[in-house]
Homo-oligomer: 288 residues x 2
């Protein structure tokens, strides 16, 4: 086949993928070519705009390193990550909604016993958490494994700080026989996504800010259930309506109610203001 | 706005670009989000497929260097480059069709007088070219500047060979008062696009070959006309129907007729087989 024009080239390219052995790969490439060509026909880029797009994608790839994934940031800020998340987590009644994993999860977080303080000395407003893990139908999930991680009072995760020689504000717990666990930490704060690269340039060029509203991250696993990756956001945060990565869902916003000085549930005497979070997570059972 | 789901997130992201000062950038991003989200909804990628796509794009960016542009190769092999070319070159009657520039153009090619041999000693089948440059209405374009470049008898461009200390098979000419120029070279050969990177992996995974059919490249500029970037392909090449970058157009295929031994038009005595190319190029006038 020769003599492609702006109308017939799409079928010609799809045709060229006709011998792809893997049917799933073939379906993905067919759809990609279809939608990508429609986009080009829609905007009719000039040669200079096409070169600018090539340059943006190149710089995005070259910004990536062991500790930075700029294409995930691009996916996040274009709403693609949350769309992929939504498609993969159509949840039954009673199951907690999901949101993005984010770039700061570590799979080797330190283990703590229930009741521990994961702030490990980091300054901030004290926060007492009691979370309950159950199946979507309400059955408690004894022994569920719960990873928690979060930003500090200045908006940084421990992995972003070069002055730390141990994990902070990050821990792994095992739920008790009732599927409950309790821990101390500090109230998380809002923070900007990394914005010194091509994605940051896109945000500036479009008058968008890079901020995410304050939240605790949770990853919860239990036998015979799908892993749950989600956040619990702090109500009242100024960025709840404009999260740079579109991650907020109403069911994941909690008041983290402020508590007066006094005695905390575990007997700790609180001289100043503190908060607590009580939250129930429901996990989606695996297909039988 | 919160509580995005797989249906309403597209409008939410487009909304977020609502304060983009440059209306053209806003239109491009709106269309990008629309088509990109439609693609995701269409294929419903798993989390692992999404991560695989992120990894492919990252490796494509990291393959790029001063002398290699892997995102342009990706654009070429997905038919996007030729689509952008077609959209930007809707040609009037009498104007030569365009095709891709390719990665081997140099803007500082050596100047030659009409009649010169740009092979400069490179072995191959001799080829005598006489090309005529006119406006789309047939008026000769005296003084048009013509860049020619091509692969050698083994399928390489001079810039790909580390053993050369000067340009070969590449030159810049000025057309005479009748818009004519003549030169000697060798017959070009088919060659593979660079396929040792992510794009090559895509071609292997989809049972596609990396070959381009043999062609001479031309870039022609003349006062008051749009620059013309095109190829003239050699008829009979086995890859004319399956050019890896979708660049072939019937009007750009020429037989390069084989000539018997004898005397060439400029008096050169030819002991063996040779070819000639006679081709007329028409340039599109600039808007008045």
């Amino acid at each position: 086949m020769r003599d492609f024009d702006e109308h017939n080239i799409t079928d010609a390219v799809i045709d060229r993928f006709g011998d792809t052995p893997d049917p799933r790969l073939k379906a993905i490439l067919d759809s990609l070519v279809h939608h990508l060509h429609d986009f080009v026909r829609d905007v009719e880029p000039t040669f200079d705009e096409w070169i600018a797009a090539i340059g943006f994608l190149t710089r995005t790839g070259q910004m990536c390193s062991e500790s930075r994934q700029e294409f995930i940031l691009l996916s996040d800020t274009l709403g693609v990550s949350m769309l992929v998340d939504a498609i993969n987590h159509r949840m039954p009644e009673g199951a907690t909604e999901t949101t993005v994993l984010g770039p700061f999860y570590l799979d080797n977080a330190p283990h703590f016993a229930s009741g521990a303080d994961i702030a490990v000395g980091m300054a901030g407003e004290p926060l007492y958490c009691e979370v309950a893990i159950s199946s979507a139908n309400g059955t408690p999930l004894a022994g569920a494994i719960v990873d928690v991680w979060q930003s500090d009072s200045e908006g940084f995760y421990d992995v972003q700080r070069t002055d730390l020689d141990e994990s902070k504000l990050r821990g792994r717990f095992t739920a008790d026989d009732q599927g409950i666990l309790r821990f101390w930490t500090i109230t998380p704060t809002a923070y900007p996504i990394p914005h010194d690269g091509p994605v940051g340039q896109m945000l500036i060029a479009t008058n968008r800010h890079p901020w995410r509203p304050a939240h605790l991250h949770f990853m919860i696993t239990a036998a015979a259930h799908e892993p749950l990756v989600t956040h619990v956001f702090v109500d009242g945060d100024q960025y709840l309506e404009s999260d740079a990565v579109f991650g907020v869902k109403n069911s994941l916003v909690d008041p983290y109610p402020v508590q007066a000085p006094g005695v905390a549930p575990d007997g700790r005497v609180m001289d100043g203001r503190w908060r607590r979070l009580d939250y129930k997570f429901g996990l989606k059972p695996m297909p039988a």
